[in-house]
Amino acid sequence: MKELNRREFIKNTTVATASVATVASGISLTTFAADPKESDPVTNEKRWGMLIDANKLSEVDIDDMVNACQEEQGWGGEVHSTGDQKSGWIKKVKVRDTATQRVSNLALMCQHCEEPPCVDVCPTNASMKREDGIVLVDKHRCIGCRYCMMACPYDARSFVHEDLTDQKEHMPRGKGTVESCTMCVHKVDKGEQPACAQAVSSDAVIFGDLLDPTSNIHQTLKNVQSTQIRADLNLNTGVRYSGI
């Protein structure tokens, strides 16, 4: 008789506790506002590109572009790296035509090719191209082999040669991985312009959707002569240049 009562007791208590727990968890305070919704994945309906007009770009403009990039993405503060070891996501390049002696100034960064050699050669798929054309390094996968740097026709990539601190929160970067211009993808995804494009007040640098017939860049490319650097490699770069 005693055992039966004990069994009953245990059974009833368990059921009671379970039901209270179930109900209680349902009515406990929802602590956060509804989780912020995730955006949709990007598609290849857009292809981001940039047009840099060397005729309109002054050297000061280019310096501003480089500084803006450094400010925005947090590179350039490496203390131990020397000379060519320092990161250089965007460079000022001065070019002189040997036949005419004409000098052009331009800014050179990752060209965001449609057929990127860096993506082809990366053994771990760390070097990747997004659907909308932006070429990135997935630093979680990068093993630091630097083969993409060998393959890049534009010397666009940098290897991090030392420990880093105080990274920008939107731009993680670390020792032993490869990095390059991201076309400010964190800004572009919010509908903003890359920092370098924003730094130039004139329309020397136009950023936009190459595939959108109404965009400034699309229409300018239709009307104005432009070229790709190393066009013979048939990489169909996203960054185009006028005036070189």
Binding site: A21, A24, S25, G26, S28, L29, T30, T31, F32, D35, P36, K37, E38, S39, D40, P41, V42, M128, R130, E131, D132, L136, D138, K139, H140, D163, L164, T165, D166, Q167, K168, E169, H170, P172, R173, G174, K175, G176, T177, V185, D189, K190
Partner: protein, 134 residues
């Protein structure tokens, strides 16, 4: 028989001692404020708060990896899971008012990671303190 009893007692004692090491993780400044306000962080629908926290501890690497691939490769932004958000809440502040790196010894991440012996790789690249406000 008595020997067996001694062995049993010492085992029970050591187990209790091990569990008694209740090093409450250094939750971080904002997280502590949140907790003190009585709110329940990481609460999942259909689960108790305690169960949600256990799930968070167990699953945070997978949750973060899954989201990071979506963000990096597909451009999916927003959502609840973001490493930056973890750092925002779970960093502590030292007496000068400066944020202490979240992966420093005795800070939020290390208290668990040192105990379970799992190395922490995120912060060789990711920012260890909340973003500066402009």
């Amino acid at each position: 028989m008595s020997r067996l009893l001694i062995v049993l007692l010492s085992v029970m004692l050591s187990i209790t001692a091990a569990h008694a090491d209740h090093h409450i993780p250094n939750l971080g400044e904002k997280a502590n404020e949140f907790k003190d306000d009585g709110k329940k962080a990481h609460k999942r629908e259909g689960m108790s708060h305690a169960a949600s926290l256990i799930m968070q501890r167990k699953m945070h690497p997978e949750l973060l990896s899954h989201k990071r691939d979506k963000t990096l490769r597909q451009g999916v932004r927003g959502g609840y899971t973001q490493l930056q958000k973890c750092v925002d809440c779970h960093t502590s502040v030292d007496k000068n008012g400066e944020h202490i790196p979240v992966n420093a010894p005795d800070q939020f991440c290390s208290t668990c990671h040192e105990k379970v012996g799992v190395s922490l790789d995120c912060f060789s690249c990711h920012r260890t303190t909340p973003a500066e406000d402009m």
